[in-house]
Symmetry: C2
Subunit: 306 residues, 2 copies
């Protein structure tokens, strides 16, 4: 993950270039991993950083912090944020790299919300503090053939019953910008200062408009993230056409191909909720209402991110 330069360099700019936010402040790094964000904070002048992770990676974080002569500035704590106390009570700043695929899949956002409510001083700063989710339509006949229609004839056998399963599993994959054949629609905005866990179960409408005459095989979703408190706001996107990130995009194949003409509108909604059995998995439904010149499609498809 450290090799994802878009991600790590964005955090570095947001932290190291904004020493005015960090000078003399106490910081909590939620899900610190190897501790790199905590070390950025020390470079930015933080008085003390509490680097928290529940996994055994904390042992490496301790060693790395020591090897970089920051052991007096960074306290590494192996704990679940929900079960711990902080020696200093509350902190001035919370930093965290909490985002998952589709922003919310296996994300640590719930933990960041808990940390905000329990460990952040009133008026304290969250980095990042905003996130937005987007949806668009893509032409993708070649991959749909390979991933879905493949099952119609597998070495001479009919395995089409697998298609129903395959189509429900969104793919995390890189989509070329040229494949996008509708406008994008921002369907969800999250303000980390105020978001509640309950807000992460939602239904949101969207409207896409055809940008050319083309067939639409799938929806794609992506997100961007913003550090709005920086002197010059810093953000990065995981959208198609932007620089590669390990989050790539998330592809939701449609059971029906839409024949879309330029300027035609595709209306729909996306609902998302944590799976009842395993809350780190997501149950997503995309409903489509489309009446175009060449076809009408009204359907609702369930997807499972797991």
């Amino acid at each position: 993950m450290l090799k994802d330069e878009v991600r790590t360099l964005s955090y570095r700019r947001a932290i190291v270039d904004n020493a005015h936010l960090f000078k003399g402040k106490t910081v909590m790094d939620v899900g610190c991993g190897t501790g790199i964000l905590s070390m950025f904070c020390v470079k930015a002048g933080a008085a003390h950083v509490y680097a928290v992770d529940c996994s055994d990676i904390i042992n490496q974080a301790k060693q790395i912090v020591s090897d970089n002569n920051m052991a007096d500035k960074i306290t590494c704590i192996q704990a679940k944020v929900e079960d711990m106390t902080l020696p200093c009570g509350k902190v001035d700043i919370i930093v965290s790299e909490w985002m998952g695929y589709f922003l919310l899949y296996e994300s640590m956002l719930n933990t960041v919300i808990y940390a905000r409510d329990n460990f952040l001083k009133p008026g304290g700063t969250l980095l990042p503090d905003k996130a937005n989710m987007y949806i668009a339509g893509i032409e993708d006949s070649e991959y749909k053939q390979e991933k879905i229609e493949f099952w119609n004839n597998v070495y001479g056998f009919n395995m089409s019953c697998i298609k129903n399963i395959a189509i429900r599993e969104p793919l995390v994959d890189t989509v070329e910008a040229a494949a996008q054949m509708t406008t994008a629609c921002k369907f969800m905005s999250i303000d980390l200062n105020t978001v509640k866990v309950a807000d992460l179960t939602f239904v949101r409408p969207f409207t896409l408009k055809g940008t050319r005459n083309d067939f639409m095989h799938a929806f794609i979703a992506w997100f961007d993230v913003e550090f709005s408190k920086c002197l010059k706001p810093i953000s990065f996107t995981t959208g198609p056409g932007a620089k590669y990130t390990h989050w790539k995009q998330t592809v939701f194949y449609s059971t029906e191909v839409l024949s879309v003409s330029e300027q035609e509108e595709i209306k729909g909604s996306l609902s998302c909720k944590p799976n009842a059995k395993n809350p780190r998995d997501l149950d997503i439904t995309i409903a489509v209402d489309f009446d175009g010149k060449h076809c009408s499609v009204h359907l609702s498809q369930d997807y499972f991110l797991r």
Copy 2:
């Protein structure tokens, strides 16, 4: 996995092209997945196939078998092979696609051995029935830099303590044939007719010879598999330079770079045993004894495949 054509087409040739082995015979398909090998067996004239898998994929297998009008010839059974009985007692043939990365990682070989000892008639046939493991040396400075030396300087921080962890994790990756700079050595042969579970814990010596003057950064291991009972024996390899398979090759980085001259010998040994805590993981040790013109290296490195 079905999309691995080398694998699936080899099984198809071994089964469908060898009807003389299958005509009127009973078959057990160990770890049947979607049931494709079972359907190949029916095409080859098998009297009846028992398709066994412990996972829920068996529900799809049942549907697929029915959709291909083979429900009278194939019985799909959801069970652990170690816990089940067969309606017919014993079978004439066992087919299985049991191979894992590095042949033995998360493999089903133990289950195939159990099936052979409990469900195969004396003199019955196993497909495949032979497997061999190979080792060679490669020049790989670019990737070693990216995967291992990367940790020396991560956005300006010293994370070199991670190198010791990273080097112990073999990589499953595609290696170009041109990278191989020693001869290959077959260090392990498995005859499925006679192999015992205890044989899968082993230490084997190997000798490699430099095929050019070059630096050696890693060992690679791969395997081939043979269906020796076919009219014309069929085999496929997962080695470098052969057609891509999803098994790729397994790369073991060396802590020290060897400066190898053409014709110089690298002697060593590879030991492999199931991990005590999780027997599906493997503990592997590669020891090297090398006295070359330009360097001497004597080391023993532990690796964990998990």
